[in-house]
Symmetry: D2
Subunit: 354 residues, 4 copies
């Protein structure tokens, strides 16, 4: 099933703030959901809001955020404004007692995001981050395989997200593309593998004013390494992530619809690491696995439908959503550290949350 029917539960009243790039997708999705009644679409340019919802519909439009906040029939707010406004809108909504779903990044700075998280905790409201990718069938399956121990201990992660991309005006390639990799990593890796420190290397060979090519290296708790290559200048589009484990290694190729996930029973086994040094013994102790590869079947599902279903369930159950405010906070932590590392020509920067 694509959308939870919320059984006989009353639909939740919801308002969307921001009718720009991503807003219309959220509107369409919430209108299709049985969990929500979309009451409001708010945009500083009310005309744009009207064009999005159409004339006939039962969705009211406004340019004043206060209209949503005052509406007691609206329990939830979705923030799809430009990033700089995320903090103000989300904070106002929380303080008005609303549950809040925020587009990524949670805020434009770590400290602001931290305040949103603590406010949500204090007021006991749901604060969720729209890490859409995490609700795709592929990433959901990856989380299941990794956390279910199918891969064994995580040894390395290598992610590539490159294509001939729109050179952004305000943000470099790290802030444009890496949030996807980082939110996915945060979602699938077990807590024992959290990033501890980050190093970033970048280049701006076209003179765009900030990095157009960047490499991100994360030191993970437990000695594993994660690496991401993000690039606006590649003529070919690549979206792959390899997750190496002590039992199996997983390859995700998001551009190969006929085989998005491949799980390899191949690898190197070292029976007893203590034996290092005694070369003869060690040679004997190294062995190579070369077993079958399995490409698990994936269900068809629209990621956004999963996002709104999770948001609704978290509100109803009064629990924390899978991609909660803290997840968004951890992603910002890495991004800010990465920017500092770029400044200092690749210096390793420890994470606050590390």
């Amino acid at each position: 099933m694509l959308v939870s029917h919320g059984s006989d539960a009353e639909p939740l009243g919801v308002g969307v703030v921001g009718a720009g790039y991503w807003g219309p997708n959220l509107v369409r999705n919430l209108q299709a959901s049985f969990d929500f009644n979309l009451n409001w679409l708010c945009d500083l340019d009310e005309g744009r809001a009207q064009r999005v919802v159409g004339r006939q519909g039962r969705v009211r439009t406004t340019s004043r955020l206060q209209d949503l906040l005052d509406d007691t029939l609206t329990q939830a707010v979705v923030v799809a404004t430009p990033a700089q406004a995320h903090y103000d809108v989300a904070m106002a909504a929380l303080q008005a007692g609303k549950h809040v779903l925020v587009e990524k990044p949670l805020a434009s700075a770590f400290v602001q995001a931290a305040q949103l998280v603590s406010t949500a905790n204090d007021l006991n409201r749901v604060l969720m981050c729209d890490h859409t990718y995490c609700y795709t069938p592929a990433v959901t399956k990856i989380r299941e395989l990794v956390r279910g121990g199918v891969l064994g201990d995580i040894q390395f992660v290598d992610s590539v997200r490159i294509n001939l991309g729109l050179v952004q005006r305000d943000v470099d390639v790290l802030w444009d593309l890496a949030p996807h990799d980082l939110s996915i990593l945060d979602f699938v890796l077990p807590d024992g593998c959290r990033p501890q420190a980050v190093a970033a290397h970048g280049a701006d060979p076209i003179g765009a004013g900030h990095a157009c090519v960047a490499y991100l290296t994360l030191q993970l708790a437990g000695g594993a390494i994660a690496h991401a290559h993000v690039n606006w200048l590649s003529p070919t589009k690549v979206r792959t992530m390899m997750i190496g484990g002590s039992k199996r290694t997983l390859l995700w190729d998001d551009l190969n619809p006929s085989q998005r996930l491949s799980v390899f029973d191949r690898g190197v086994d070292l029976s007893d690491p203590n034996s290092i040094g005694a070369d003869e013994r060690r040679e004997a102790l190294i062995s190579y696995r070369s077993g079958d590869m399995v490409a698990p079947a994936l269900p068809e599902r629209e990621a956004l439908a999963g996002v709104s279903a999770e948001f609704a369930e978290a509100i109803r159950a009064g629990r924390s959503p899978m991609t909660d405010g803290s997840a968004g906070l951890r992603v910002l932590d890495v991004l800010e550290a990465a920017s500092r590392s770029l400044e200092y020509r690749g210096a390793v920067v420890p994470l606050r949350s590390g």
Copy 2:
């Protein structure tokens, strides 16, 4: 043409030192060459040498290096011993007035390699490094395209060399695999793009005693960046190198025999970098090229045949070979700096030759 016929030139007398892993390939290749007479195969284990050349042949075998050095009919020596012995054998051969071809790495340390280079210069002998990859049709073509200006100014290089590899006893994955990437980069990039500094990140998640996964970042003169991913733990084998330029971008996929090289007329153009800041103007100045892709036809040629042909031509012409001692020296410079960077958890280490 696979092998230069050296026209009516006398074949050069040559001896090979080392009948181990790579030696037999060199023997087979030199026996097929019209440029050389293979006089000697030397190995501490003379029996092994005999098995390699066979009983009937006209190639003499010995366990004493001096036999080669004393033979006035032998003008050239090929060093295929273990790396630790490269320096001693090559130095002795140079001082005996021989021209020398050395397997990679040129020596096990930069300082020793530097002495070989200066000795060769002083004695006016040819010192060549066997960077075999550089003599494959694909890399030869890449050098031609890059140096011929077809790609424009080099903006970035991204190399991936991963597979389920033999975990080496004495060297980490950087010293095992990266010499290929580095010698190829040294070969194809114009002098204006030499590496200035290097940072390396690695991990040893299986407890092998040294890095099994590593990432190498090179800062190139002129602001470009080069990056290499080397990995012994990947279940899939990948051998790709992307070279991004201001005019075109090249993708080399060495495991795709039907399309090893792809040259894309795609990219981002920024008419005037000075205009940064004036966003409106800049937007107008950014444009995206999306032209044809061309996969150039490549000749069939065995790389080793190219190596021996180049060695012979350099000796006859008294010129420096394309992959001379200095090339091997620059590769060692990067490898040693990379090892230091690994030690210091990714610190950026400037190069001696930078």
Copy 3:
């Protein structure tokens, strides 16, 4: 440009008949077009028609075809009913003086289609077949390359259209999938290469009541051969067409967005076919070309926009559209002959239009 602006020309009044599977796409497309005013959407189930156009719009809905035919502001009719109704609706529209665009197949039988074509000719109306694929950037480019002589003389065509397909109730896999291959062939091949005869082989291994796997072989004028493999039972989806020519060979892989078209300068040349028999001479006369491959850049364009633009231009210019009634007729000719061949276990059946 995606849609022709028809300069200062008056938009043409148009009505769509059939609000089922494909109708909504046509409605959306015609509403976006500057060439047409969509006046009517007609469906036996008027409620369905209303749901498609929405309540507010200026498009009138009806369940009576006559309403469209009587409307003098409606010069054109688009027929998107089930195939069995194509003939009746299209004939009535033509006789009412309308220009007509019909979904494929033009009619459910050759004879009916032939009557539509002659009626359109007699009444001097435009009769167009919606062979949508022909208006994709890839097929448009293929036609240009083939007809422009870039490939030289056509030697063979091999098409594969297989996937785990919906097993149709009323038609076998040939009538379900082959119309795409046949309409594309009709569109790209020069007139000198028209099909002369057809043989079809099929199997129904699952007991569906008609062929689920089929192979179609076309003998083309000039001695070339065309072949199509259509299959509902393949676990993998393939959409490829190879067109071999005396100068170049083209490969179209519609599922590879990064390289849909590849044009190979490779092939076998036989300088003088007359020399066959004289083996020695022949050997000398056979040569193999192995040149570059070029993947031409393709524009972004929605095929349906091209369909409506061509329909409008044909009406305005009073000319025959690129995929006119005769094209649809030729496709039906092959399909009916193929069905006969299937009946007679693969017997070669000549074409009426051959």
Copy 4:
């Protein structure tokens, strides 16, 4: 294990006849085998034979077949002459009481091959066909999967064997390439799926004097269909075979070393074919499976080593080899029928052995 050690069994004396294209591979392979002592290499051009075995070796060379036949230490003969000579040499060897391994095709005509088979039976000698492909790890695994019932009932087979091939002087593309597909089919398909009739379509667009592009359709017992596309004019090389079954479907891509075999748990299920006609019921009865895909690991093994091991074991056990004379006979039956079908423009020709 690459070569069977034949335990403590005496090696079998063997002679090879024919030192041309394939002979040297057989010589190298038999010299490496523990099952055989290679005593003789016979070629009309004895000098060529000498060059193949080298001067020093213990293999005797001759230009007279009789020398082998008279040698009581030689129990087995391998026939690697041109096809026209297969019959004479093999018959002479059998009548001299030798066990015989013949290159494909078993003979140049069905009737001759039939005589070889009956002679071998009468004299109780092993007659084996060198269908090398059948001894590759991939095909061995396919046979295991198909015959083991993993795929369920076989529904269709589709094979593609195309590339820019050497245009042969004496044989068309069917006789050059299809023997591979046919011997593999004969090897992997259960006896209940034997070919009953064949239709072939071809073209000679370059004027080579015989078909350079051909399509072969086989009607299999039980209603399944098999099809092969062989082509000398394709710029790209393809080697794929899909075998569709009621439970699973297998895809073999021999040019994809990292994933040669893929076994898909996907397909169409029709619970009860009798229900055809009752559309409503039927719809209910059609269901689509979309399960995991498994790429089984394959061992490393040289096919020729498997051929000689099987030959030796069959001789020692006095049993029929896996690819015996009858297999070669069935392949010839299809090839001759295909040639007749080509003559008669694609007419369906029943098989003798059908």
